[in-house]
Homo-oligomer: 234 residues x 6
Amino acid sequence: MRYLAIGAHPDDLELRCFGTLAKLKAQGHAIGVCNIANGSLGHVTIPPEKLKVIRHAEAAAAAALIGAEHFAADVDDMTLDRHNQAVIQRVAEIIRRFRPDVIFTNDPNDYHPDHIEASWLVFHASFSSSLPNYQTDSANHPLVPLIYYFDTAKGLHFEPTEFVDITDYMDLRLQAFLCHQSQLEWLQSHTHANAAEKTKIHAAFRGYQCGVEYAEAFRLCPAAHRVPAYRILP
Amino acid sequence: MRYLAIGAHPDDLELRCFGTLAKLKAQGHAIGVCNIANGSLGHVTIPPEKLKVIRHAEAAAAAALIGAEHFAADVDDMTLDRHNQAVIQRVAEIIRRFRPDVIFTNDPNDYHPDHIEASWLVFHASFSSSLPNYQTDSANHPLVPLIYYFDTAKGLHFEPTEFVDITDYMDLRLQAFLCHQSQLEWLQSHTHANAAEKTKIHAAFRGYQCGVEYAEAFRLCPAAHRVPAYRILP
Amino acid sequence: MRYLAIGAHPDDLELRCFGTLAKLKAQGHAIGVCNIANGSLGHVTIPPEKLKVIRHAEAAAAAALIGAEHFAADVDDMTLDRHNQAVIQRVAEIIRRFRPDVIFTNDPNDYHPDHIEASWLVFHASFSSSLPNYQTDSANHPLVPLIYYFDTAKGLHFEPTEFVDITDYMDLRLQAFLCHQSQLEWLQSHTHANAAEKTKIHAAFRGYQCGVEYAEAFRLCPAAHRVPAYRILP
Amino acid sequence: MRYLAIGAHPDDLELRCFGTLAKLKAQGHAIGVCNIANGSLGHVTIPPEKLKVIRHAEAAAAAALIGAEHFAADVDDMTLDRHNQAVIQRVAEIIRRFRPDVIFTNDPNDYHPDHIEASWLVFHASFSSSLPNYQTDSANHPLVPLIYYFDTAKGLHFEPTEFVDITDYMDLRLQAFLCHQSQLEWLQSHTHANAAEKTKIHAAFRGYQCGVEYAEAFRLCPAAHRVPAYRILP
Amino acid sequence: MRYLAIGAHPDDLELRCFGTLAKLKAQGHAIGVCNIANGSLGHVTIPPEKLKVIRHAEAAAAAALIGAEHFAADVDDMTLDRHNQAVIQRVAEIIRRFRPDVIFTNDPNDYHPDHIEASWLVFHASFSSSLPNYQTDSANHPLVPLIYYFDTAKGLHFEPTEFVDITDYMDLRLQAFLCHQSQLEWLQSHTHANAAEKTKIHAAFRGYQCGVEYAEAFRLCPAAHRVPAYRILP
Amino acid sequence: MRYLAIGAHPDDLELRCFGTLAKLKAQGHAIGVCNIANGSLGHVTIPPEKLKVIRHAEAAAAAALIGAEHFAADVDDMTLDRHNQAVIQRVAEIIRRFRPDVIFTNDPNDYHPDHIEASWLVFHASFSSSLPNYQTDSANHPLVPLIYYFDTAKGLHFEPTEFVDITDYMDLRLQAFLCHQSQLEWLQSHTHANAAEKTKIHAAFRGYQCGVEYAEAFRLCPAAHRVPAYRILP
């Protein structure tokens, strides 16, 4: 199977579904990761143009750690818009190139405007990508991929329908997160919290809920043509 | 009373509320139908420009079958956008010309991006149409019409609040759906299912839920000025 | 049609659905009212045995005002229990004698333990009453009646699905409520509020929501065999 | 793995989860089925004492068809009560004897009072069965089994979280249902519907929702110690 | 503390949270109010250009009554769009200038398209305003403010999580509302109701729910970084 | 103010609200704690009669640690029943003796049958306790206390409406939990987890959600006469 995770910002996936991705990779599946926004506003002192380059490299390094193919849609932070036709096309083209069976993306009820828009962009683009007469560089993807929404920031407003045991991949996930050095500085200054420690608490709590040490939580997007009769997650 | 059904694509109404419309017509009410999108991407081999013409004719034929006035907003598939002022105006103008007491439209939780946007376009435009100083060709509609959301694709994520017995109109509804010959080819190729047979299962299930042979399911839009003290449906 | 309203205490119906009952009566329907509890604890100084007699007479007087047949199941306050077989039988027998098409009762999410239990007692008994081999004095009721839950105390935790315009019956409803003289004294002492004034605010608010002066709000019990394809309420 | 399905009445399982049970059996799992009520009131003319014997035989025959071990708790219809300690003990003892990893049971929001109580009896008894000092004939079950609620009557008020493809087992399921000859007469008289035809519509609709021909729908009981990190269903 | 209320139209705040604002002001807090739309379409006979000026003055007068600083984003009615970057910037700049700890705004489930968009504009802009590299005239706001959604029109589709007793400020709130003379004429013609009387019923009902004479109802926006461990409301 | 926490088993309160109780105590409020069940089945080897005595002493020791008055209703494990009149009276009498303004209790959606029943017993008994003619040894409590439901086991199925920062009381809470030595042995054997460590993860996660180090989460019981216009929690 082919799994593509598409998050808003360069570090969203590392904090929410990288354990599952690493596990799927270890099971022999093909993994792609994509950040729609370029992370341009995620720092106090580094200006956007310079930051975009740094964050792209950080995301690529994290992807490499788990053996995932890395894509980026290069949209400036805080400008994501579910109705932007050019961005929908860009995301649809990435989907067509990777040809996923399953997509992971942000939950539409998350706290960050970009997360919400990213979620809808993926919803739109993954449908468009299946239409033969919808024009991008590549030919249409032959199916409408399933969508799993990953956990929200701090798990607020999120009722999981499925859990994945990531105990064996927790260290790797943290290592991947630590590739985002510029972001760590930012999170420290913006939220006054140790992000690496907090993400461990989050994963430990999700693990506690389903009876393992560390887990990631997901919610299936319950839309027609995207509801399977079988479990897809590992 | 005057009932206007506004769906995203040329065949949405036939699959979700044409039984109710036919019943209302038989009871002497005035019926209008409108598709916002022109169906341009709904085929594998027929190119958009040619398909639009075909699908308009198909929709008009289906409308004629139940004696409904046919409108179309002629927006390309996968470009519907609830914030597009020009499209809102176009839909508002159609509402002003038909002057409905009640509108049927797609549910905002449906599976297709165009369905979601169509639902919100109708929500916006039906409010705008009532404002004297909102400019379109026609004068303002003197009331804010009620909105009923019709069933979603496959009935997923939809809790009906009202049912309509369409047993006597099921054949006519199927006949109307079969007017969409180009779409039938498309659905067969895109979803690998016999759409005519599936829509019978759907209506039989809704009928089963409310104790009749075939039924359509609706949900009232619970917004201020749109909540009546009386049942509107037949 | 035949409508039977079954509330927990002698004054519950007067505060929640008497406007609708009076309207249905005026339209020619047969109306029954029943209180399951006898109101034994609803006073500061009048002891239970004496109070039960007073409250029964008050309820009967209120019923007479709207031309309703009056029933009572005579269970002591704060002892209602959905699993009490004797009480279920008593309520089933009342249902069999009145033979309602529709039942109104308390919402199972209401604030008072007796209201919650009354709601479930009605749910159980109305099903039992339809079974030929379930034994009470009368033969089985030939159908499983629909159930409408009426509004909760203060409208908390209650999302109405239907409203009834009771503007023309508001005065009569208040008059019926004022038959409960002993209860008025109690409510004043227990809740420190003018119940008659508060019930007007409640009905005015429900009217405001659906665009009339005074209204009552209901929620259909969405259980199999109890979901109609037609509106039942006036 | 060991799967135990516990329904209220002798035919509940056949209509809701027998396809899944047959599939699990074919995959080599151990299957048990149990009806808590004896079906004593499920007929118009056959009196309770005689009917109980008939229905027990019918349930045993249906169980035999799919190779399931058959249990019964022999409680009279319409007397199920989640707080009845003797019945909880009887159900706990059945659980201890079968030692299931997973239990299927009625949804607590279903339409029939006995279904609701059966659901809670299973919830209580499956917890009790794991406690060493809780006394029944057998020693404690070493785990708290997972619970899946199967679909409600007519699918009302039920949002599935998982689907099982039962296409290959639909005929067998119908055959099992037809073992309940006395019940078929009853359903025909009580609901005026052809139950065998309706259950096909129900399964076809659930199949339609998840993209297969026939399916059964389930909802995991989201209680602590009962939430797995893996899919359990076939 | 600093509280900024941002509503869609010039009179929204007066109808939903002015009692709370007046109370906070009396307790010594700093209060700002802002209308995003200019109210251009809110009249039958006064044309937009003229009306905008009138309504701005009316809003300023109402703000003065409770000692609040008045802001306006001057967007035309029915054109609010959560994705309009220029408007987001304008609102972010107002937030940066006022530096609120807490924001009150419309609920995203309200009935009016502009209310829905205003709610999301505030959600976006209040996040943007905290980012150092997001460009507007002023420097970034050092925190992400909490958001309270105030009650919807007619209280439909709104489950309050907190109430504020405004009994002592009800007269002042009504006085502030009456500053909107042009709007009163409009509401009378568009909704055929006495708005001043209806808003009293609404506040009396919310007061009834929480045991005071008049109250306003709120719902905390449950997004990460916006959930406090302490109550913020007076 | 007077706060009474009533949990099902001897250690429920220590795991869910002891931080808040300790904080309230430190602020000068009067605190009572009560366990309804006696914990008779909570061990593998210690038999019920002996265990009850041990657990009572453990609960009393924990209460003493935070300076709370200790009550117990002494009902055997797995026999709690919301309709048991004798137990309701016993709990009502405890409420009348302590005279609380606010009660904390288990959530009715929790995982343990006894937790669910305890929640409803408190709901019933706290209402009964306010009725002058409801007979127990003490005179009636002059008010219907507010109810806060504390967090569920593992936080499943629980959407908090309020959080309390317990960072300064986390050590004391753990110390109180460790008083339950017999229960620690049981939890280790029954759930194969280190309960003390898991409860820290739980509190750290709730703290993470609301921006403090450790927190407890609550949900107000939204029933009439129990909804305040002010925050009650510290």
